[in-house]
């Protein structure tokens, strides 16, 4: 029988396009120190460290070793994970699995990236098949742009619809002191920003950031002693799709659709739009903020623009999406999925400050990456059965 697991504390760094004041190890330490401070635990209380990033962004291929001074992993079991864009959400799922196993009581989970240290697109291309994908495939932006094109064609979605998502997230980011881009934008500014890969323009896309995030997972044996507001993991699901970009079915995010259905079933969610109080969506570009809501079953196919235009996903709407400002505002890639998890936890603990959504009882965070892969986690204020 698995142990029930809760998040008991979180920490994240301030994010910038270049954090020249710290090296990678020091950046990691900044997030870890905040998470320890949040829980009033010390390094000695931690019995497992799980760390992750994308090796090729910093060109360091032994991060579990190299990061010890920052992670606090000195003479502790330490594991390194990398799964592309989903790295941060994989880390959260791994923290949950390891503590649920009953073998570890308190796991410190760390995601980080210093995207300023390399050419992000060149580095991303090294993740793809050298014989079949690399020569013809225009990095992450191109892969998302072909999804957006198919979506526009399927349902008559417009670039203006997508721009409304950006306006929402950039507005929310202004209330999050840790966010990278903290300046509101208008629909006209999004539409007139430079075209990157048709129909994806500069402001439709996430930035690349330097930053780190740390989350402490604890077992039911100790969680309530550490905090009065443990955030319980009710369930997780993940789906990996293909190796090659050409194999992907671009009509809806199939991996997210499949993972969401499994998770709702496991957690007894029947009407997600009504039952879920907040979502931190791994949304690296604006069109994903529409199409992927449909894939999560929050509305019928082609109807996400109505949901977004009606304000349902705004801060004061029925289901706020990305109160933190999301990925469109902050994107240290290996940390991005874990920041979604930390932000949901802060919402449920009532620690989200200026971007607090009132009374969050059930929440979701997601991860996206690789070849259109998805992770999804569901959290509850109440202890699961």
């Amino acid at each position: 029988m698995a142990k029930r697991v809760a998040i008991v504390g979180t920490g994240q760094t301030y994010h910038k396009s270049k954090r020249l004041d710290v090296n990678g190890v020091e950046l990691i330490h900044e997030a870890v120190a905040r998470a320890l401070e949040d829980t009033e635990l010390t390094r000695d209380d931690i019995d497992l460290v799980i760390i992750g990033n994308m090796d090729h962004f910093e060109g360091i291929n032994y991060v579990d070793m190299w990061s010890i001074d920052g992670s606090g992993g000195f003479m502790k079991p330490t594991i390194k994970l990398t799964t592309g864009g989903t790295t941060g959400s994989t880390l959260a799922i791994a923290g949950y699995h390891m503590v649920a196993s009953g073998l570890f009581n308190k796991a410190l989970v760390i995601g980080w990236e210093k995207n300023s240290e390399s050419d992000t697109t060149a580095a991303i291309n090294t993740a793809f098949d050298p014989i079949w994908d690399r020569l013809t495939f225009a990095g992450a932006i191109g892969a998302l742009a072909v999804e957006a094109s198919a979506y526009m064609d399927d349902y008559g979605i417009t670039e203006r619809d997508a721009a409304r998502v950006v306006v929402r997230d950039r507005k929310n980011a202004c209330n999050n002191p840790y966010a990278h881009l903290r300046k509101e934008v208008t629909i006209e500014e999004v539409l007139s920003s430079p075209m990157l890969c048709d129909p994806v323009k500069l402001l439709d896309m996430c930035p690349r950031s330097d930053g780190a995030c740390a989350v402490i997972f604890a077992s039911e044996d100790v969680a309530e002693k550490i905090t009065d507001t443990p955030v319980w993991i009710w369930g997780t699901a993940n789906r990996h799709l293909y190796s090659y970009i050409n194999d992907v079915n671009f009509h809806g995010l199939q991996s997210l659709k499949n993972a969401s259905m499994e998770l709702y079933q496991k957690c007894g969610i029947k009407e997600p739009l009504k039952e879920i109080d907040v979502i931190e969506l791994y949304q690296p570009y604006s069109f994903g903020g529409l199409l992927w809501l449909e894939s999560m079953g929050l509305c019928k196919e082609g109807e996400a623009p109505k949901l977004v235009w009606d304000g349902v996903t705004d801060m004061d709407g029925e289901l706020p999406v990305n109160p933190s400002g999301g990925v469109i505002a902050t994107n240290p890639i290996g940390a991005t999925g874990l920041i979604r998890c930390a932000e949901v936890a802060r919402q449920m603990m009532g620690k989200a400050g200026e971007h607090q959504v009132p009374n969050v009882k059930i929440a979701i965070s997601t991860g996206f990456g690789g070849c259109m892969w998805s992770d999804i986690l569901l959290y509850g204020k109440d202890k699961p059965y």
Binding site: N23, V25, E26, D69, A123
Partner: protein, 153 residues
């Protein structure tokens, strides 16, 4: 092996990964390298709790996780703790082989510095020998601003 494959040369796709990097040195590392570059001085950071002087300097003590902000000038002389003679060639080597490198415990430091050894015959290198740094004339702010260590004569 398939019969068809025996009639041809299997293909190998030759390419290269070329991603440029700019690694942040950070506050502590920058201070160390700027002192080295501008004043030919070598500094470590000291943990007041564990009484360890770290070289290269750290911002955090790996033993106790305490933030380190006390700077201690170390060396420049030190003691060779261990060494080896490199005889093989690789594109990543700092010098043409044969050459020697070792771990040097600079005076007042508690952790060793890895560096090259030169101006010494290989058979004269001994563990425990006293060494001193030879600095570059034109320094640029990296660890090779120390060219190598040589025996104190």
């Amino acid at each position: 092996m398939n019969k068809w494959l025996e009639t041809v040369e299997p293909l190998v796709y030759e390419s290269r990964i070329k991603v440029p990097y700019t690694w942040s040195v950070g506050e502590v590392g920058s201070r160390f390298l700027i002192e080295l570059r501008d004043h030919k001085k070598i500094y470590g950071t000291r943990c007041p709790k564990c009484n360890i002087v770290y070289l290269p300097p750290r911002k955090t003590c790996s033993q106790c996780f305490f933030n380190l902000d006390e700077w201690v000038e170390v060396g420049p002389q030190g003691t060779l703790i261990t060494y080896t003679l490199v005889h093989y060639e690789s594109s990543m080597m700092p010098m043409k082989s044969p050459f020697a490198y070792g771990i040097i415990l600079l005076d007042k430091a508690n952790t060793g510095l890895v560096h090259l050894l030169d101006e010494v015959k290989s058979e004269e290198i001994k563990t425990g020998m006293r060494v001193e740094p030879v600095f570059k004339d034109e320094r640029t702010g990296d660890i090779m601003d120390i060219r190598y260590f040589r025996p104190v004569r």
